[in-house]
């Protein structure tokens, strides 16, 4: 008689197979919603347009808006194009951050509702490998959206991100992603526990936009709020990308400090988030089970 194929303790090949299967399934599913990836790339362009137009209207011209903005915030950019690029990169990074949170949160919620979360927990696949598959997908999707939005924004706002160190900015984006994964694990665990994604996303989205300084450097905050905001990994990532592209000083200090902080965040935050996810999962299994929705 057959005793099955399943292995409780899989080798590296089988584990890689789990990561690949989850990643591929997520990609297949999103591509079957026509135009979803392209449409979400337009959002940051619209979001960047709002403060640019408002700034021009309030200051009486775009250059005036740029002068006032850089003078008041103590940043070193000068031209109207710098001002536009500053807003575009803030919006782009904000989209990447919210995408990461949304995708994990909605993934957990959707799997709960359709019963596939319970089906996942019935398999011997390790939580780490399943989450690695999902986060690889969110990374690719966020990266595509970032690049498409940057190209679209550059064309629409007549800015050239390649004048700055674009590759270094993308490298900072990639380095900032693990910390976002960590936060998204916290978020996913919260959704698993409270069985609701929308209200949490709505709230966090705007807290996040405020705290990470989408349209301004967080140096304009009062001291205490500034310290809290600067300790938030998306703020660090946003600042690193913007300062690299615009060639302006980072609010965190020289580049090696920024890099060091990003490395620490990339290691520490996912570790804490993963532990929190595991802790919540055990609690849910003790209380009512992962299948209850």
């Amino acid at each position: 008689m057959s005793r099955g194929f399943g292995l409780g303790r899989p080798g590296p090949r089988a584990s890689a197979g789990v990561v690949w299967a989850v990643f591929r399934a997520r990609l297949k599913i999103i591509t079957r919603y026509k135009g979803a990836v392209f449409l979400e790339s337009i959002i940051p362009v619209i979001f960047a347009g709002l403060p640019i137009l408002l700034g021009a209207a309030v200051a009486g011209g775009e250059q005036n808006a740029a002068n006032n903005f850089f003078a008041y915030t103590g940043t070193t950019g000068r031209t109207a194009a710098d001002f536009r690029l500053y807003m575009l990169m803030g919006s782009n990074t904000f989209m990447v951050v919210t995408l990461m949170l949304w995708l994990i949160g909605y993934w957990v919620r959707r799997e709960q509702e359709t019963g596939t979360l319970e089906a996942l927990y019935l398999t011997p696949a390790k939580r780490f490998h399943v989450l690695a598959g999902v986060t690889s997908y969110t990374f690719i999707r966020a990266l595509i959206a970032f690049l498409v939005a940057t190209v679209l924004g550059a064309l629409l706002f007549n800015v050239n991100p390649l004048e700055g160190n674009f590759l270094a900015a993308v490298a900072y984006l990639v380095l900032g992603i693990p910390a976002l994964w960590g936060i998204s694990f916290f978020f996913g665990a919260l959704v698993m526990r409270i069985k609701e994604a929308n209200s949490v996303i709505q709230l966090l989205q705007w807290v996040l936009a405020f705290a990470m300084g989408v349209y301004f450097p967080v140096t304009v905050f009062p001291f205490l709020l500034r310290v809290v905001a600067m300790g938030f990994p998306p703020t660090l990532m946003n600042d690193a990308i913007r300062s690299t592209l615009l060639g302006i000083a980072s609010i965190y200090g020289p580049w090696y400090v920024v890099l060091g902080l990003m490395l620490i965040a990339a290691w520490l935050v996912p570790l804490l988030g993963y532990e929190f996810f595991g802790w919540t999962e055990r609690r849910v299994k003790r209380d009512q089970g992962v299948g209850q929705f």
């Binding site: 099955g4 297949k28 359709t114 011997p124 299948g291």
Partner: protein
């Protein structure tokens, strides 16, 4: 003799639920879903778990499949502890617990099988062979390459069943697998289950359909209010009623009729199941149906009763449940369990 492949010792589960009564503060209430359950399922048998909604079947299955942690007791599946060797337990089982749920609607049936095969660590070449085998076995080729969102409920059920077989595990947990299937498909599925069992798979099968349990199961446990109240082969369970007979009545019966019936000497138990249009079915358990029939007719006629059908019938597993609990399996334990239990013995 076959060895136990699933073993539970003193398994219990207590949930804390919040109770909110009008005008009162929220209170936490303990719900004992399982009460010290001992169970052994032997290697190679089809083991049936019977009971009404809310009896504890799903809780027991969820604990044995590692989806829930027990409050007390221990259990082993395929020799592995459900709390200490969860991955080994999961690798040893195939499950269909959620009916037609648990599939990705934007993927095709084949993509779903491949996906879950990978999550069970089935090597790619074996996976492809196993999927082809399942497509042929379950006759899925007409729709397996369409996305699940286009399937009928019965087609989703059969793909969900295929998913439980994708890792070819030695133990299968099937929770009401035929519930939304049409009659021929359900019959075919039962045939396949029997065939899988003939090839050595151990199957834990929950159902509320007595004929399914009688047709498929080597042994049956009846569970009610979180406790196993009867266990044995279907024959043993039916024989345990001794010389009791059942007289089945259908029609419209006022509440007083049941009380009058219970008061008739020689009536052992009366179980009531209500239908939507005000009609009821009464199963009256008696020592000798032939001798008791006139007295039963006398007790139910008049005073607003309308008898549409009356017939003695063979003892079934449902009658075993009725004899043990005073209720039919169609009755939801959570809703009217207390009332039905109070009604026992008049």
């Amino acid at each position: 003799m076959a060895e136990p492949i699933i073993r539970a010792e003193g398994l219990s589960k207590t949930f804390l639920s919040k109770e909110r009564k009008k005008g009162e503060k929220k209170r936490k209430k303990e719900v004992h879903a399982l009460k010290s359950v001992d169970l052994e399922v032997l290697d190679g048998e089809v083991f049936g778990l019977l009971g009404p909604n809310g009896a504890g079947k799903t809780t027991l299955i969820k604990i044995l499949t590692t989806l829930l942690l027990p409050t007390g007791g221990s259990a082993w599946v395929n020799g592995y502890s459900i709390t200490k060797e969860e991955d080994e337990v999961r690798a040893s089982i195939g499950c269909m617990l959620m009916g037609d749920r648990g599939l990705y609607w934007k993927l095709t049936g084949r993509e779903n099988l491949d996906y879950f095969g990978a999550l069970y660590h089935v090597p790619r070449p074996d996976r492809a062979k196993q999927i082809e085998h399942l497509i042929a076995l379950l006759k899925l080729d007409d729709f397996i390459d369409r996305t699940v969102e286009t399937y009928s409920s019965g087609q989703r059920m059969i793909v969900a069943f295929a998913k439980s077989l994708v890792n070819d595990a030695p133990i299968l947990f099937l929770d009401e697998p035929t519930v939304t299937m049409d009659v021929p498909t359900a019959r075919e599925l039962r045939r396949i289950v029997k065939d899988l069992n003939d090839h050595g798979k151990t199957i834990l099968y929950t159902t509320h359909l007595m004929h399914e349990a009688e047709e498929l199961c080597d042994r049956v446990a009846i569970i009610d209010h979180g406790e196993i109240i009867a266990l044995g082969t279907p024959r043993e369970l039916k024989d345990s009623l001794g010389h009791e007979d059942v007289v089945s009545l259908e029609g419209i019966f006022p509440d007083a009729t049941v009380s009058r019936l219970r008061a008739v000497p020689g009536v052992l138990e009366v179980a009531v199941s209500a239908e939507d249009d005000g009609r009821s079915k009464l199963d009256v358990m008696v020592e000798n149906s032939r001798a008791m029939l006139p007295r039963i007719i006398e007790a139910v006629t008049g005073q607003g009763s309308t008898v549409e059908e009356i017939r003695p019938k063979e003892i079934t597993l449902e009658d075993v449940f009725v004899a043990k609990t005073g209720r039919t399996l169609a009755v939801d334990t959570r809703v009217v369990g207390e009332k039905a239990v109070r009604g026992r013995g008049g």
